[in-house]
Symmetry: C2
Subunit: 339 residues, 2 copies
């Protein structure tokens, strides 16, 4: 009786079932229709289960050239939005026996590594957020199937695209605020060079076009952080005349805006309304809770993974746009003096 058995191989299964190794492979990969008798197939499966057989992934991958692994390129997982993106992508991946590996953000200390040099696993494809700008260079021309998240739909490359309808989110926000009587808006914009923020600005101007009486001011936050948001909001709120509502590109910025308002002795939403984008956990952690455009992060991640699987299956790259929804909460209210 053997004591320290090593992991059973397909040969062990073959031996146990009294068949050849090739038959085992056929049966277990479910490609035995009309090639192997149902009886032998059953006995192979029984033997495999009996022995607790698991295929060796390295061997499988070496032989097929496929890894069932996708790379997800995002700026930082500590931003909840990207963590949720990952959750969605990993969920769909798991359903298809795929794995998701993350490109470690280079914005931390240390030089940026080439994601393909050090990616631990060989990859079958890449899902990249447009916000991970610094990695996009390495991405181009490496021949891997690519799905872009939140990138300019006008880009005419061969990548599949998954977007969220940011323009509609901005429209909903503007309609909400104008309906509350606001006629002087501040745009707290993220000064991050990425399409996802450019489109917010464009959509805001577009949404304001039918309302020429509405005034718009703008301030940029150099990063997506509460602290920088606070400072940019401060500039907006100390300008004369002061906006009665601040539209922020992101919930973190909105949280910073609320802090700025309070430090200036302004009440939210009585003196100034604040809206955000994302609907992170943060949005309901602060007081008052944030009115914000809920972006379907998990769904976007899931859609991106599905798009990648489709491309891998030979389908033509497509572009999907996911709907968004304005969530009205306590941080927005009627404009001061509005009946």
């Amino acid at each position: 009786m053997p004591t320290a058995r090593s992991r059973p191989t397909s040969r062990d299964v073959a031996r146990a079932a009294g068949v050849s190794q090739a038959t085992v492979s056929l049966v277990l990969r479910d490609k035995w229709r009309g090639r192997v008798s149902a009886a032998t197939a059953d006995s192979v499966r029984a033997a495999a289960r009996q022995l607790g057989y698991r295929p060796n992934l390295a061997a499988q991958s070496l032989r097929t050239g496929l890894t069932r692994t996708a790379l997800l390129v995002v700026p930082a997982l500590t931003n909840e939005f990207f963590a949720r993106l990952h959750t969605g992508a990993a969920g769909v991946a798991a359903e298809h026996d795929f794995g998701v590996v993350l490109y470690p953000s280079p914005q931390g200390i240390g030089r940026a590594r080439d994601p393909f040099a050090s990616a631990r696993t060989a990859l079958d494809g890449v899902i990249a957020s447009s916000m991970a700008a610094e990695a996009l260079g390495a991405l181009s021309g490496n021949g891997l199937p690519l799905v872009m998240l939140d990138s300019d739909p006008a880009r005419t490359d061969s990548a599949a695209k998954v977007n969220v309808d940011l323009a509609d989110g901005m429209r909903q926000t503007v309609a909400h605020l104008i309906g509350l009587g606001h006629r002087h808006l501040g745009h707290l914009a993220a000064g991050v060079p990425s399409w996802t923020f450019e489109v917010r600005s464009e959509a805001l101007h577009e949404a304001l076009r039918p309302s020429p009486g509405v005034r718009l001011q703008r301030a940029e936050s150099p990063s997506l952080s509460v602290q920088d948001g606070l400072q940019a909001a401060w500039r907006l709120l100390t300008a004369e005349p002061r906006p009665t509502a601040l539209i922020c590109d992101d919930d973190l910025l909105a949280a910073g805006a609320c802090k700025a308002a309070r430090r200036l002795g302004l009440r939210v939403p009585d003196d100034v309304s604040v809206s955000g984008f994302d609907d992170l956990g943060l949005a309901t952690a602060v007081d008052p809770e944030l009115t914000t455009v809920r972006l379907p992060a998990e769904e976007a991640g899931a859609a991106a993974m599905r798009a990648l699987l489709a491309v891998l299956a030979g389908e033509a790259p497509a572009t999907a746009v996911l709907p968004v929804e304005l969530v009205r909460r306590g941080s927005t209210g009627p404009a001061p003096g509005w009946i």
Copy 2:
């Protein structure tokens, strides 16, 4: 001139350098001391760089039985603490050409795969948070090197352990509050069955022992969420007599406590002080900012990865305890009536 070259193999490098494939392997794996001349080594490296050679990981792994991949088992990446844990672990891993793959959270949508189904061939080791309780069963007895994060140091298994000094964090919190004149504390505890929360309770009682005059009440939040924290805090704050300070097991709970206070018409910190654990981004996003025990999440992840590498290198499993620090911010202040 070849057009669609496939990825160069070590044989291509050998051919280009005019040596055998074995020599390439020796040189590139840096095991050529006294086996290959410096000149040939150089020419091999030059050829490899020239061709852009990258070793095929599947082949490497198949041959060596090693994967240079660690599994990180955490409850959810959408909790910033675990996202930071991952960041720290992935950073150290990358320095050692290791990868980190995440255990797909079973609480998400879609069925969770058994991460250990092919683990024996896909993984070299496991890093597991004690909070990922549901996965611990599968972990035991699978023979993989294991590093436990935030687990009972008294557990006498063969796992290496990395802990943060939660007991000291609790001591610092209690000292801070007692120094501010608080004599009636509320403990907003996480009702999550995990050592990391049990030790908070124990340490709190321990820290209070030298101060028999201090009264302690307790409420449990069924989950780590702002909403549940709010409800548990509500119970604490509507009890008679009412605690003047709430010690929360976590920043999310603390944020909920602040909301509860405000809804009850209580000011933070004038009427009630609130402290948390973790020092998430949330802590400085809310107003007032949270006094909280900063847990070195990245460092813990990094330490865990280092511990795993040490075990893999044959060292005996050790236990590390990382120091923590109370960060005093606006959510705590003198007890009402304290001079």
